[in-house]
Symmetry: D2
Subunit: 159 residues, 4 copies
């Protein structure tokens, strides 16, 4: 039964470092092993590495695409959602998840982190953004040191 | 392998007639039997009846929701996508499909038919809208007389 | 005071017939003369002709654009709104108006008509779509025979 | 001519501190005096204070609303844009501007800052978020110490 499973989003840049690619793939593998469904933005980089990892372990991958065509999905996306709403799909990526794992990332990833925190969805960070507001540290992003720790924290914090 | 399967959207009103409910459930059953994945708006009425039918035959159901919470999904939605973009999710419902089956429906359904036709996605109609433009009949909606015929036509026209 | 004025949307295709261009320009002129603000999708064809008409009479024109850049606006748009959400901006065009005038148009226009009717916003049609549902004529679109009549009806029906 | 003017977005929380309210009102006043058009999310708090300031100086205010009704706009919004797309309208707020002034703010404001930086739109900050990525300070937000300085910087950096 798919519908008893956890939905976890993996977010991150389309031009990741080699370490970020490795982290993303391990996060994907680990999510699949633990029976969670992977939600992502459906494109390349961190998204593709995470989908590849999940697919290798027989997991289900959902890619919420910005454009008008399913052809843009990376080859490991099994359920492509075609939104046609551009970067506004970033909201759907995080709001469709019960927890979010952020790996590296640029401003697009930061927008996803923001939308998740705004909606009360836990965010676990691996080498990603940190925030302070008006000079004070904001500790809303839960830090993880490894892919396995990130997945553990995501599953235990999932809403 | 999910990703070799067809994605077919079923659209229609949230307050269907008894016949429309029966049609939707049969369409859902038939899609599942034929191995297609069902995409819909995730709420009640035609959407719920189609998801129920698909679930009864072991099919996969995807509900693309307008609001901010997965709780709004009908109980037969297995993959809830939470968009938070209101009626703009109507676009994502049809653009995520390779063909669309419209059953009855009100103006929301008509907007989905329009977005599908605008995007070149085939629309099959069961007791639904018909259109004319500037006094001339528009025959872009393929008419079906029964749920089985609608599913046959959707699968053969799917892009 | 801008904020006591009526907001009226003008919708229609990007490749209109010569008569539709003339109608759109006259509708734009007439709206400006009557002190209404023109809302549209900001691009070419009917949208541009309506904005040109309104500008020639000193009216205010608002263009709600689908893409990521204000450069795509036609030269008569004074207030470009850049949404980045593609065709989902069609909703914003009609929901930002108190009445909608549809001139000709293709499936994109039909989606705007649908979203307006779904939201209870009056639609006045000039040579545009007509609808029937399950074999019965739907008379929700108020027919006008001339640009002046369309503007009169839009202003008197505006919510 | 409206269309030769600058469009500047003012973003910030709906529950601002008294100082943030004062900053927002002064930013609004200053933008109006300098002939710029004010774009905002159209609701309360920083958005309302900025619109009030601009209105007091005869400026034009544009409110891009998340919901389905223009009634939600604060009383100083002259051009209400009704999007119906929820928080996805945050993108439209910043993409419709040539520079963005952020005053205080919570995660919604942070999402707007992110979308602006992602789109190459300059962001000027008054008592707002600061960012670091993977342990390194990100200086993309231009800091201002006063409303007048924020407006000066916004107008000089506007794209």
């Amino acid at each position: 039964m798919i519908n008893k499973k956890r939905f976890i989003a993996v977010i991150g840049g389309s031009q990741p470092s080699p370490q970020e690619v490795q982290f993303a793939e391990e996060v994907g593998r680990e999510l699949a092993k633990r029976g969670a469904l992977l939600v992502c933005g459906g494109l390349g980089g961190v998204m593709e590495a995470a989908c590849r990892g999940a697919s290798l372990e027989g997991g289900v991958t959902i890619g919420i695409l910005p454009g008008e065509s399913r052809q843009a999905a990376n080859p490991y996306v099994q359920v492509p959602i075609v939104t046609g709403i551009g970067y506004a799909r970033n909201l759907a990526v995080v709001k469709s998840a019960q927890a979010v794992i952020a790996i590296g990332g640029n401003y697009g990833t930061l927008s996803e982190i923001s939308h998740a925190l705004q909606g009360g969805i836990p965010v676990i960070g691996l080498n990603t953004w940190s925030l302070s507001r008006n000079g004070q540290q904001d500790n809303s992003i839960t830090i993880a040191q490894s892919p396995a720790e990130a997945v553990n924290k995501a599953l235990s914090l999932a809403i």
